[in-house]
């Protein structure tokens, strides 16, 4: 068995030697380069662009403006397409935009022989704008009279309203003796900050077909979006995905591929490269939705919920991208993690004049987890209950069934994870020790659970395809539409394929690059879906291949198929475990046989009709220096139930990365927008505070490996979940240490100073 083994990554050697080819490493040297002119107003209309000076600059090939692009609004979200018009993604932007909707919006592009010429041409462009009032706060933007950002939509900035109604909230709150707990919670705009910026290049070949090589998580989806944006038939577009230097959801969107393809068309199909700068990554790619949330809970004195109300605003920014689906996922989590008989929950996804929000690791769940876990701690504090016991008592119970997703909680996952985390971080002792502290430096320990859903069925299709091709030496090429972007899916897919067919893992050659001309359809890297959904396709395809192989083995060995098996690359007679022939011998004989000759391959699509809960917990221990308003994270542990681990060290490494991102979300990161101009103030890695090696301690990780019964390999979501719960755990630890509740992220010294001042903490020292 290869599944469950601690195997090295199949791509590690190429990556430590610099041989792994990313998009820029493959771009032809003679490709033209591109620079984009970004608006210097937050909202308005481009009246004119004078390109005459720019066009005279030596080395400039073409200058194109918002007045030149096709009048085709297109959607960018990396969702599978749906044939139901009402459920299709919102098409609200063009390749370049005359109606400018955020500071930095794309209004013109220069194609040039080199960047010196392109940069000069950008500086030589003269733009005349008509300015409109702008709005950067989603609650303000949702109000009557706010500047309308998409007048053509007639939605008054409210892209979507989602709601959940369970029981009868208004009646339930009349129950005598209830305690009302109410709070506002805020999570900020943050950015993915993968180290490889988005980059793509496009060229025409094969009688005018368009090829785009791109750093994307979703090649098959991008193919569709490029075709839609150009107004082309989809088969004329080909997307190639090389190695990708991180994505985290940002590259689960058609970013600049449509524009790049169109620019290439404007220069006769010559290769055109669009290499996004770090500054553009922050402003012109996607960001995480900022989300203010208002929660009211009506709690019985015994610490059970009678009724709960949620009001959530999701800051969409300038364009729809993933739109309301992110807020929808966030909203859906509130009643699931802590089930309650009476729920009234509403989410408004609201356009603002800010960078566009899209998918980002865990898709609304880090926000919702912060809102809910802060609020739960408020209840615990108000009712003087034990934080862990409250969570044990109120979190989703074993056997819980959700009629929409058809999900069931099969195991005691929350308690299993809590038990492990508590032991690892020595919680009980520290929780007692840190009670009733005085003095300027205090310690605290805090807990947060999280809830997560694997994949997207039944909201969207969950389809994955796989192809296996047998080589003459008995090894296989494995192709799936699911993309390696750093998580390690190529390695775990090789393990799954090896076990299904009966091969050694080194005899599974994973074709890591997707090419939509040859790669079977898969939706790509999002929703922590690939190990779960891809697993079905690999299992099914591997069994098809195995059936073919054993059929040929029967012909060659005369033995009945049902006493034959494939073990470590050999045809084995099960009755006496004798090796009858190697797969290499079989494959060679079959391919070159005058009668039997066959290129042995299998291909299939699996459309998954299930989904799986994935759960876990963070516990954080902090030291707060009250006079300095400084938080030091001393220890943090994440424990996950993501089912069976296919490759334990890779799983642990995924959790490390998510925890680090969650810690940044909790303590450091925020994309700041100037209220006066709408301009992003910290669009670089110096001013946007990404965690470095110095910014958190060693990360503790463990797993409760409860097998997921719906998965052929017992596995479920892990890619995104680790980012959900660190921030609220840190917040709750700070509350434990100081008695001060901070309900807005990031918890930086500025906020602590204001909160400690308001709480009168400095006077008590």
């Amino acid at each position: 068995m290869e599944v469950g083994k601690c195997l090295k990554r199949v791509d590690a050697f190429d990556k430590v030697t610099g041989r792994a080819k990313y998009t820029d490493d493959m771009c032809p040297k003679h490709a033209y380069v591109t620079r984009i002119l970004h608006s210097t107003i937050a909202h308005g209309r481009v009246l004119s662009i004078d390109t005459s000076e720019a066009e005279k600059i030596e080395g400039v090939v073409k200058v194109l403006t918002c007045f030149d692009v096709p009048d085709i609004p297109f959607p960018t979200a990396g969702h599978p397409w749906t044939t139901v018009p009402a459920h299709q993604d919102v098409a609200d932007r063009k390749l370049l935009n005359e109606h400018v909707r955020h500071y930095g919006d794309e209004v013109a592009a220069v194609v040039a022989e080199d960047y010196v010429a392109a940069d000069r041409a950008i500086r030589a462009l003269k733009v005349e704008y008509e300015e409109y009032p702008f709005v950067i706060d989603p609650i303000e933007a949702a109000k009557e009279g706010a500047p309308v950002i998409h007048p053509e939509r007639q939605d008054n900035n409210i892209l979507a309203h989602s709601d959940i109604r369970i029981g009868n909230y208004q009646e339930a709150i009349k129950e005598p003796g209830l305690i009302k707990v109410e709070g506002w919670y805020y999570t900020p705009t943050v950015q993915h900050a993968h180290i490889e910026n988005h980059i793509c290049y496009a060229y025409q070949e094969q009688g005018g077909r368009m090829t785009v090589v791109t750093s994307t998580q979703i090649p098959h989806i991008v193919r569709r979006v490029v075709a839609q944006a150009l107004g082309w038939s989809w088969g004329k577009v080909r997307i190639i995905k090389p190695y990708v230097g991180g994505g985290f959801g940002n590259k689960q969107d058609a970013l600049y591929e449509p524009l790049c393809a169109w620019l290439s068309l404007q220069v006769g199909g010559h290769p055109v490269k669009l290499d996004v700068s770090r500054e553009e990554t922050f402003v012109n790619n996607r960001v995480r939705h900022a989300m203010p949330c208002h929660i009211i809970s009506w709690v019985r004195p015994d610490g059970t919920f009678a009724a709960r109300k949620f009001e959530l605003w999701s800051d969409q920014g300038a364009y729809a991208s993933h739109g309301h689906s992110v807020a929808g996922k966030a909203l859906g989590s509130y009643p699931q993690i802590y089930p309650c008989d009476n729920i009234e929950a509403d989410a408004w996804t609201v356009y603002t004049n800010k960078p566009t929000a899209g998918a980002m690791r865990a898709y609304g769940m880090p926000q919702a987890t912060f809102h809910n876990e802060c609020h739960v701690e408020e209840i615990v504090t108000k009712l003087n209950l034990d934080p862990v016991e409250f969570r044990r008592k109120n979190s989703m119970p074993v056997g819980y069934y959700d009629d929409f997703s058809k999900n069931e909680l099969y195991h005691d996952s929350f308690n299993d994870c809590l038990d492990k985390a508590i032991e690892l971080i020595d919680y009980d002792r520290k929780f007692e020790l840190y009670k009733n502290q005085t003095g300027p430096v205090r310690r605290g320990i805090g807990t947060s659970l999280f809830w997560y859903n694997t994949a997207v069925w039944p909201i969207s299709i969950e389809t994955s395809s796989c192809r296996m091709i047998m080589n003459q030496d008995g090894s296989i090429q494995l192709m799936t539409g699911e993309t390696e972007i750093g998580q390690g899916c190529d390695t775990v897919f090789a393990q799954m394929a090896a076990d299904t067919v009966g091969l050694k893992v080194e005899d599974v050659h994973v074709v890591t690059n997707q090419d939509t001309d040859v790669t079977p359809y898969g939706a790509g890297a999002y929703a922590s879906r690939q190990t779960y959904v891809g697993g079905f396709a690999i299992k099914q395809t591997g069994e098809l291949l195995k059936e073919k192989i054993l059929g040929h083995a029967h012909t060659l060995t005369r033995m009945p198929v049902d006493i034959l098996d494939i073990v470590e690359g050999n045809i084995v007679r099960k009755t006496d475990n004798r090796v009858l022939m190697s797969l290499g011998e079989l494959a060679t004989k079959i391919l070159y046989d005058f009668e039997l000759s066959e290129h042995m391959a299998a291909e299939s699509t699996y459309s998954v009709k299930s989904n799986a809960y994935s759960f876990g917990v963070s516990i954080a221990e902090v030291e707060v220096d009250i006079p300095l308003c400084k938080v030091e994270l001393l220890n943090i542990v994440n424990v996950h139930d993501c089912g069976i681990l296919i490759n334990p060290p890779l799983a642990e490494a995924q959790v490390h990365g998510g925890m680090s991102m969650g810690i940044g979300f909790g303590l450091y990161e925020e994309l700041l927008v100037d209220k006066k101009t709408g301009r992003v103030l910290n669009d670089n890695l110096l001013d946007y505070k990404l965690c470095t090696t110095m910014d958190h301690p060693d990360l503790m990780v463990d797993f409760a490996e409860n097998p997921e019964p719906t998965s052929p390999f017992g596995t479920k979501a892990l890619g995104e979940p680790p980012a959900c719960s660190p921030a609220p755990a840190i917040r709750n630890a700070i509350l434990h240490a100081t008695g001060v509740a901070i309900n807005s992220l990031p918890i930086n010294p500025h906020k602590l100073f204001a909160a400690f001042t308001e709480a009168g903490l400095f006077e008590t020292l």
Binding site: T17, K21, H194, G246, A653, G657, T693, M694
Partner: protein, 166 residues
């Protein structure tokens, strides 16, 4: 500067004497990538913030994106490609990154390895906290740095043991 100006420079690149004519405005990272095909030199910000383009110049760590190509004239440049021997064997620090699962998307990896190689070449023993401080100029969004620190610590200990500094 409106006209392109070129200068011929001679330097040692990964142990070999090389010569090239380079635009005087060009960065070292662009020259290494475009003229010598050294794709380990990654560009993540081009302003010296992320560390993905880290190389060694005369044994010192530099962000090659903000280092002019002409400045390496007469100097010794080392990239990750230069850590692999003539038979294709990788170095101890590269192997440690593989063994400790310190590689994910791989984009920051070569730069991190070069910063680590610089530390290992000092022959000093660093505490874990010192390693964190020394490596803080390289950014990674995938790993949470945990396994990277583990890999560097492991390679450092092995090299020190080999040098008799147990």
């Amino acid at each position: 500067m409106s006209e392109k100006q070129f200068k011929t420079i001679n330097f040692t690149l990964n142990g070999k004497r090389v010569s090239t004519s380079v635009d005087v405005r060009e960065s070292l990272s662009d020259m290494l990538r475009d003229d010598f095909g050294l794709t380990s030199v990654k560009k993540g910000c081009e302003v010296g913030e992320c560390g993905a383009c880290t190389v060694l110049v005369n044994g010192e760590v530099f962000a090659s994106c903000i280092f002019l190509a002409i400045w390496v004239d007469g100097k010794d440049v080392l990239t990750v490609e230069g850590l692999v021997d003539v038979d294709g064997n990788i170095s101890d620090i590269q192997q440690a990154f593989i063994d400790e699962t310190a590689v994910q998307c791989g984009f920051c990896t070569p730069g991190f390895i070069m910063s680590a190689e610089h530390l290992l070449r000092t022959g000093k023993r660093y505490t874990r906290d010192e390693l964190r401080k020394e490596l803080s100029g390289n950014m990674c969004r995938c790993t949470g740095y945990q396994n990277i620190i583990n890999a560097v610590e492991k390679a450092m200990n092995a090299r020190l043991a080999k040098a008799g500094k147990e």
